[in-house]
Amino acid sequence: MTLYQIAFLVAAFLTLIAALMTVSSPSMVHSALWLILTLGGIAVLFLLLNAGFLAVVQVAVYIDAIAIMIIIVVMLTQGAVRQQLRQVSRTWWGAAVAAILLFVSLLVIFVQSPQLASTAPTLVPSQETILKDLGQSLVDVNRYILPFEIASVLLLAALIGSIIVAWPIRRPGQEEGER
């Protein structure tokens, strides 16, 4: 049992517990806070996988932007959450059976491919080389420039689309600027 393995087990255990609390907590605010712990645990796993840049992006994009945005929306829709008592639907057991079935079938596929289980980690180039290569590959014409540009257009479309969708409704007869 090396130090890395212990670190992995602790991070993975905490992440799973936090994820379970996220999907089962009756209060949406608690659920969003547990989500932050889940995302932080995943950032630790990225660090253990020598993907330091992705760990930073995980903290900056997921914890900083998405989780905070979710908490703000939870607070904005608090009134609806307080009215409804049940958080899970009547057929929650069906969802649990589907999730367990999926995990069992994934496990069966995994056991049938022994080359995956025995793969040892290969030597990885230094952190600077990876980062340089990653940055160049995203703007290289022969590599990933197309998905990169499509992602930027997608982000712009999502930006404009979410502004339009969340624009306040104007009822007829209502004065401009009055809500």
């Binding site: 089962s24 969003a32 996988l49 992006v57 502004i163």
Partner: protein, 102 residues
């Protein structure tokens, strides 16, 4: 070192937890949160395969970055929809959202 199988099993477990949340919750926000958990589980697998099988190519990390961008835009549009829906119907429960049913 950590075996690759640990990462795969952990990502599978996390994905199934997210799937349960997406199917069982009534709150549209909780479903969005569960989908974020599922996307994260996929990202762990992408990075683990990059690290253990093809560390000389950065394709796994580049793919994970694209997944980040898609997850961010999906969260933005989803949250905007929830806010707009809450203004119109005063609810975030998914079974009460039946405007497209006929």
């Amino acid at each position: 070192m950590i075996p690759l199988s640990w990462y795969i099993i952990f990502a599978g477990l996390l994905f199934c937890v997210g799937l349960y949340g997406a199917l069982a919750r009534r709150n549209a926000l909780a479903i969005l949160i569960a989908i974020e958990i599922m996307l994260n589980a996929v990202n762990i697998n992408l990075v683990a395969f990059w690290r253990y099988i093809t560390p000389e190519k950065v394709s796994g990390q580049a793919f994970a970055l694209i997944v980040f961008a898609v997850a961010a835009s999906e969260a933005a549009v989803g949250l905007a929809l929830i806010i707009s829906l809450y203004r119109k119907r005063r609810t975030v429960a998914v079974e009460e959202i039946d405007m497209l049913k006929w």
